[in-house]
Symmetry: C2
Subunit: 293 residues, 2 copies
Amino acid sequence: MIVALDVGGTSMKGAVLSPGLDRVAALRRPTPRGEAAVDAVLETVAELVEQAGTAQAVGLAVPGIVDDERGVAAWSENIGWRDVPFRDLIAERTGLPVAVGHDVRAGGTAEIRLGAAQGARNSLVIPIGTGIAAAMVIDGHLCVGNGYAGEIGHMSVGVDEPCVCGGTGCLEAVASAAAVGRRYARRTGRDATAGEVAALVSEGDADAAAIWAETIGFLGTALAAATALVAPEVIVIGGGLSRAGDLLLGPLSDDLAGRLTFHRRPRLTIATFGDEAGCVGAGLWARDLLERR
Amino acid sequence: MIVALDVGGTSMKGAVLSPGLDRVAALRRPTPRGEAAVDAVLETVAELVEQAGTAQAVGLAVPGIVDDERGVAAWSENIGWRDVPFRDLIAERTGLPVAVGHDVRAGGTAEIRLGAAQGARNSLVIPIGTGIAAAMVIDGHLCVGNGYAGEIGHMSVGVDEPCVCGGTGCLEAVASAAAVGRRYARRTGRDATAGEVAALVSEGDADAAAIWAETIGFLGTALAAATALVAPEVIVIGGGLSRAGDLLLGPLSDDLAGRLTFHRRPRLTIATFGDEAGCVGAGLWARDLLERR
């Protein structure tokens, strides 16, 4: 049995998985803030290990800046922890081998090995939700960069909009699911989620169409820059915004194609796994540990 | 003995190197165009092998789109070849193990293993000459992307300027050494090389200072995007423009720092190897082949 836990800014999703990664048990609970979050992670993992009975390895996915190689959660603004050596802490507590990594890279691992990016040696998996980040595979290697790689959400798209990170013009500030709703509300005075904006586009709402077209342009700008640099064969879009499906993929593929010349043209597609991707990816990492032994 | 050949758009630089990579013999000759270039490469390598007497491996660096993993020169607009399987052709002709790769990645290999990027597991080595491209190392891995990785010169910096690639606003179109001279001439009606523009900046020429400041902004835009995505610890600038030294590095470091927030801040530095980097890198690849046996 394998224990997997995906810690999000809002909730933690845990699972006991069979060696074939079938879900034997699952739990979901809120993520506390600060030091309490560290204790909650350790407690939850211990509970899942006990529940599993014969757990052989643990996989943990956490947000923020994460050094997958050292198994350390370096920083998360949302949760408020810093330099937590989860790999060592969990190994000490459970006596099991532990894999720790970034939640986006965990989700990316699921898509790359079992989902929409399967078979590609060069890919980007980009969840677009409250935030935007990328899991990046080049030459078959999942890039970590000491936890700093793949921050496509904090790449400027040349627009004068402040970002929560302190920067200006970040992709996340204008093209996250949250930003799409915010920009629509600012334009119209009417609150809407990104999903509602997408629905309004389909109904012919001109304001929604304008916001959507701008969003496509921002995403196209960032994807073109990423394509020049890392040359993915496939780009997988996940997260809340990906629920728009072809309304997103169609115009985004066209926009991106219009920005590329000799570059390799990536195929755009929607993620296979929903919000279970992080848990599946953490489970895959844990299984890798066992197979390496 | 190792034979190394660096094929540029204008000239080919060949060398016979000792196992310690000391230069025992060297040659330089013009690069012909089209099919003749393929023959010239094969001839020159054969000559160097004969000259070496006891050559044990060959390293070849070529421009354009190059698949280092298959040893194939996929495309070079400058030279005019397409899908040349150099690794197999040279191995057949010489009976020796052959490493083939991109000239920028060869130069990058020299800087990463023996030069300015030594010791860093995440780095960008960016020659800025007639063109601009990057050798990109992430987690200690030199990224290839089937030959398409590292094309930072063909990333848009959001300006309305046509590029030779057919795109608009590419970094190379406004910030290569050639582009700096071209933009100064357009502004003033006076021809100047990038080196002359740099000298004029030092002398207080206002037009040169304006062109230089814009160039720094374009480079800062692209480096910030690359930093968000691949998180280098060090960025090495090479090529003609790097001869400006601190006049380039000082303001570029400041510009880049102003664009970053939580991102890892890369150290900027000038390349150690001049135009011999490609040959040294090709020699390192050839030596790697021998060590792997």
